[in-house]
């Protein structure tokens, strides 16, 4: 790739990540061009960008996913490059290819690399060839019980038998030893034959108490690859990450170097370009298994920024310009500990139901070690058309405990009027004993009954606020009495419900 200085960037995204890219552009003296749908006409990314173009109605398919319209806008605005953010078109190889054909730099991997990383099976094959460890098991469909037993023996028990025709948890059987494997295989094969006319089973090692640990990668057009250490993202709900932490409490320097080297190798195997993430599962015995490469800047990239001191968006732009990565692997040093809580507009007390609408006021926390990436501002609106992430709250500390305590404080300071958010859940987690010890796993919420704990905490909070609540009620009735005595109806307005109604359950 030849060097080509970028002087203007269209940001094909919205929300906090669009604002994040605008900030990087401003630092670099690059013109930032935003796009917006009908719904986002007063959104903060529109306000802060140097220019902003309307691209269509609220529905993503007609706006932020409308490739042709975006390319057309990029040409009209005369930009050199497009930053896709995350989500939307960020991992769409067709869009990357369209940019390439239009002579616009796509700030991300090549369409060719994305084609491989986007196809899990193809990617797994490439990784095996590159000696990147994946979850042990069969390479494809196993039709013969002897072969299944052989694979299971090599992978180690327990194993899972997964039907090729199943999905969503259906058709999965657990086998703890060979005897059970043989039984289950027969039953599963019979079932599968009865339903689909043929037996089609995969064998895969069953991993216990899994942690989700990923490595941030960058790779330039000169073939230099680096890893920027790990992030542990085990705290999830239905495969959606909630909290990300770096360093992981279970990764020591030796492991970091070993798995980091594997991650860099994985990136080289697909000739990766720019920032990406290699995701691994870690089992309770400390084994790491590659699962996939996310070929984009991730939501949780600020966690890595806080512990490395690097600015990943500016680094992305430099790489997209054809520059070499300006440091060696050994130049990097991990500094302290950072964590991120994803503040979603969902009600954790009501099965995480979405909560949308106007936010008349909000208090964004700040202070030592605190960073917030958000599109919220007093008077903004949270739209139901797009995803529920409204803010990323980050805390840095010299160590896990300091970061945790700062996060707790910041969660207490964070007030968002008008909508429900996941803040109460995070407040509970910050003091939950297993979290404090770093005892994490992808089933953390269920394993430690965290949702119940959150409800208990809410009860305790209500108890603490009881005197103030009762005082307020007495105060109000006193004021109403006074107003009545004065014959005025004005104070009666105090009985009207307010726009805060969403907050109450």
């Amino acid at each position: 790739m030849k060097m080509s200085k970028i002087s203007s960037i269209l940001i094909a995204n919205r929300g906090e990540i669009a604002l994040r890219v605008v900030r990087a552009c401003k630092e670099l003296g690059i013109k930032s061009v935003a796009i917006y749908s009908d719904e986002d006409v007063r959104a903060v990314h529109v306000k802060r960008a140097d220019e902003a173009f309307h691209i269509g109605p609220a529905a993503p398919a007609e706006s932020y996913l409308n490739m042709n319209k975006i390319i057309e806008t990029a040409k009209a605005a005369g930009v050199d490059a497009i930053h896709p953010g995350y989500g939307f078109l960020s991992e769409n190889e067709n869009f990357a290819s369209l940019c390439e054909k239009s002579g616009i730099i796509f700030i991300g991997p090549t369409s060719k690399a994305m084609e491989i990383t986007g196809d899990k099976m193809k990617c797994k094959e490439v990784m095996k060839r590159a000696k990147v460890p994946t979850v042990p098991g069969s390479d494809g469909i196993v039709e013969d019980v002897e072969k299944a037993a052989d694979i299971a023996h090599r992978a180690g028990y327990p194993v899972l038998l997964k039907s090729a025709f199943g999905g969503g948890g259906r058709g999965i059987r657990l086998a703890k030893d060979e005897k059970q494997l043989r039984q289950e295989f027969e039953m599963a094969s019979a079932e599968s034959r009865a339903a689909f006319g043929k037996a089609a089973l995969f064998v895969e090692k069953y991993l216990v108490k899994i942690r989700h640990i990923e490595f941030q990668l960058i790779r330039d057009s000169h073939g230099n690859g680096r890893h920027l250490f790990e992030r542990e993202c085990s705290i999830q709900r239905r495969h959606q990450k909630l909290i990300e932490i770096s360093p992981s409490p279970v990764v020591d320097q030796k492991t970091r170097e070993r798995v980091g080297e594997i991650a860099v190798r994985a990136a080289a195997a697909v000739d990766y370009l720019n920032a990406g993430t290699a995701e691994f599962l870690r089992d309770d015995e400390g084994n790491f298994y590659f699962i996939e490469i996310n070929s984009r800047l991730q939501v949780e990239h600020p966690v890595t920024e806080l512990v490395t001191g690097l600015d990943l968006v500016k680094l992305q732009i430099a790489i997209a310009q054809g520059e070499e990565i300006p440091f060696n692997q050994q130049d990097l040093r991990m500094n302290g500990c950072a964590m991120e809580c994803r503040i979603n507009a969902e009600d954790p007390f009501y099965d995480f139901a979405p909560s949308v609408g106007p936010v008349p006021s909000c208090n964004i926390p700040y202070g030592p070690g605190i960073r917030v990436d958000t599109y919220l501002y007093p008077g903004c609106t949270v739209s139901g058309y797009y995803d529920s992430l409204v803010a990323k709250l980050l805390a840095w500390g010299r160590n896990f405990d300091e970061a945790r305590r700062r996060m707790k404080n910041a969660l207490d300071e964070f007030q968002i009027e008008g909508i429900n958010t996941t803040i109460p859940l995070y407040r509970t987690i910050m003091d939950e004993p297993n979290f404090v010890k770093g005892e994490l796993s992808t089933d953390y919420l269920e394993r430690y009954r965290v949702m119940d704990r959150m409800r208990e905490d809410a009860k305790e909070e209500a108890k603490k606020k009881a005197s103030a609540a009762v005082a307020a009620v007495l105060l109000q009735s006193e004021l109403v009495k006074k107003a009545k005595a004065k014959g005025a109806g004005a104070a009666m307005q105090q009985k009207q419900p307010s726009r805060w109604k969403h907050v109450l359950r």
Partner: protein, 170 residues
């Protein structure tokens, strides 16, 4: 007067003692005196010091029987248990929600993706009546009781707010 806080078992006994002037009042909670100093008073918002601690209270709704508050960012419901008010309520029919039973309401804001029933459809409690979409999630709205759909209040594609009535089941 007695107050019940959220679903806590303990009832609080609290009363207004007297005004001390200068926006201060003396109140008694469970036999203990407390000084309240009012700092700010809006149409649905108070700021006050209670003894030596600052509190910010938003009043979401308030009737003679119940107040829904947000105290220092924390939602707190207060029920008032005075016999007098109970009597008043019953006689004036203020208790609300009488007959609300027929209405199937939305628990979330969203857009109506599809309707699974129409007027006249017989439904059992738990049957899907329609599907809403919000923030990329699809949420099924289920019948809250057995019965017959009397009316569907929304159209496909319509936006609904939380607590909007979606359908009437009898």
């Amino acid at each position: 007067m007695e107050f019940k806080i959220g679903d806590l078992a303990h009832l609080l006994n609290a009363e207004f003692v007297h005004s001390l002037g200068n926006d201060s009042i003396l109140i008694r909670i469970d036999g203990k005196d407390h000084m309240l100093k009012l700092l700010k008073s809006g149409s649905d918002e108070f700021e006050f010091m209670l003894d030596n601690t600052f509190h910010h209270v938003k009043v979401m709704s308030s009737s003679s029987a119940e107040a829904k508050l947000v105290v220092d960012g924390q939602p707190v419901n207060v029920k008032k248990h005075s016999k007098l008010t109970e009597v008043l309520e019953k006689s004036s029919g203020m208790a609300g929600s009488g007959g609300g039973d027929r209405n199937l309401t939305s628990q979330i804001p969203g857009r109506v993706v599809s309707l699974a029933a129409k007027p006249g459809t017989q439904v059992k409690k738990g049957d899907v009546v329609m599907v809403l979409e919000s923030m990329k999630m699809q949420v099924a709205v289920k019948a809250h009781k057995d019965g017959s759909i009397k009316e569907i209040k929304v159209k496909q594609g319509a936006s609904v707010a939380r607590n909007d009535i979606l359908a009437v089941i009898e």
